[in-house]
Amino acid sequence: MGTDRGLDDRLADLERRFGDPHDRENPIGYTAILAADERAEMLRAGEQTLDEYGLGAEFVPAEHGGRLTRLEHLVDVMRSVYRRDPCLGLGYGSSSLIGAVNVWASGDLEQCRMVADVLLRNRMLACAYHELAHGNDIARNEFEARSTGSGLSLSGKKEVIANVERAAALVIFARTDAKAGGRSHSQILVDRASLSPDSVRYLPRFRSAGMRGVHLGGIEFQDCTVPTDSVVGFAGQGLETALTSFQITRTVLPAMTVGILDTGLRTTIAHVTGRKLYGGTAIDFPYVRSILVGAFLDLLISDCVGTVIARAAHLIPAQLSVYASAAKYLIPKIVIDAMDRLSEVLGSEFYLREGDSAIFQKLLRDVRPAGFGHASGAACQLTILPQLPALARKSWAMEDPVSPALFALDHELPSLRFDRLKISNLGRDQLGASLGFGLDGESDFDAPDREVGQLRALFATEFQDLGNKVAQLSPAEVTPDASSDTYDLASRYAILLAASCCIGVWRHNQNRSDEIISSRSWLIAALGRLADRLKTSAVTVPTQADDYLFAEMMDRFEGRRTFDLAARRVFG
């Protein structure tokens, strides 16, 4: 598989350039990263290294001259960056990607070329959606692009925008029609250097608790004229473009942040293996072990969900709407909870801004925007919720089985097609429905296993129960005013999807017998962990699973391999 070898080479190359994070002299080591964070600056040496590596090309589809062919590969590369420094991940990488996907989805050839050119030259794109007055409620954004006959006149403010003062080009979400409704906004793509300086003002930088190095700025336009052909897609297509193209970023960004947990877990293990307490070593305490193993499991579960949903983008793109929202809702939640629990194990170390574990306090701050940025968890629940009744009615009990390629990691995938994304699932959900398959008679299950079978049955019952509950929801109950019990249905759905991802990955990768994901211990433990999240007390994870997972985790720690599905060699 040529592309995969290409990926391995790229990852090895990136890791080599990054060097040993613990080397105090390394300009891209933790010492330098923490010093830049204290100054609220981006790590210059890190940005230079990513320039030399050519990170921007990872965001450009191959047909426009870049290296983007598979979302999982994009995630893998960016995960390396997030493992090292999340500010580089977001401030050098993801914020450009978020802008670019709008153009890949709806831009014309000229616009795609322009954005490709920016990224291939290692310049940046800023994506200006957010207005302080409207937050997640982008359909009420006011920034205006008024047609003047000879062009478009831009007026209004965009606030808390990454790199707005240093990007080569801007993607701005603007109102192109005063009416309310779904056809009143458009993305405007502009070359920043071409803007008339008299009609543009930059607002003071917003200082932040985490992601401190990322330049968060604001921009105010006043009657700034830009060419009519700056509109991405047709005028009024903006909300559709946002709701489709952001399915890609809402899938991959959470999966990238798994890299933060990787370093968080590694740092915590390093601390507790050296920490002597009560005549023993902290890592030998059962409580400490169970938190570490729990974090390892959370990381693997998050990777399973991220991987399967990234594959769904290729395979069943018209169903990505709810999956991307589920990923964006659930993965950051799992990752942030795990980081919080690890911080308890670190004790006072997690609070110190110096010493061997000092990177942890930075990661704990940097991970937070994963939860609320680029659509908050609640906004994602609300994308899922109104769709659930139709999914239950039309899909869950009667769906066609999904292709095993969704889960089988060695399977090739069709290429990514932005034009196949839809703003709603229209009642189809093959990933969710696969949770129910094979339960009657276990006919399509190769290796029936009593314990696994019981767990699957438990999740299938939960799924049926969810189906019954959502079938009773009226359209009036699935709006932003929904009760918190109703919101809870969306989160239960996301957890059930996660179970479906874990079961699918386990079942369709049995050929990888040397790997943890084909083991029943992993599956049983993962499902037990998800059952905890569902607050179902029916499952207790057997302790031998803990021992097995602990051994695997330590093996990876000592062998300097990542804790995710790929278990890649890293610099540590």
Binding site: L239, L243, A390, K394, S424
Partner: protein, 63 residues
């Protein structure tokens, strides 16, 4: 509440992002597949009704 056939539904407080869910119900009820953006393109009851009628007629086999 009286709904005027010619006033966009968004003016009655129907959120444009969350109105999409209705398309699946329409599909069930009328047996035609509806692009979820149809409600955005035809935001009034009158306009949407006409567009839907056209879809229904198109999907009928010509006798």
């Amino acid at each position: 509440m009286e709904i005027d056939r010619d006033v966009p539904l968004s003016e009655y407080g129907l959120d444009s992002v969350y109105v999409l869910a209705l398309c699946a119900d329409i599909e069930d009820h009328w047996g035609v597949s509806v692009e979820p953006t149809l409600m955005w393109d035809y935001p009034t009851i009158a306009g949407f009704g006409n567009a839907l009628l056209e879809l229904i007629n198109e999907s009928r086999p010509v006798s």
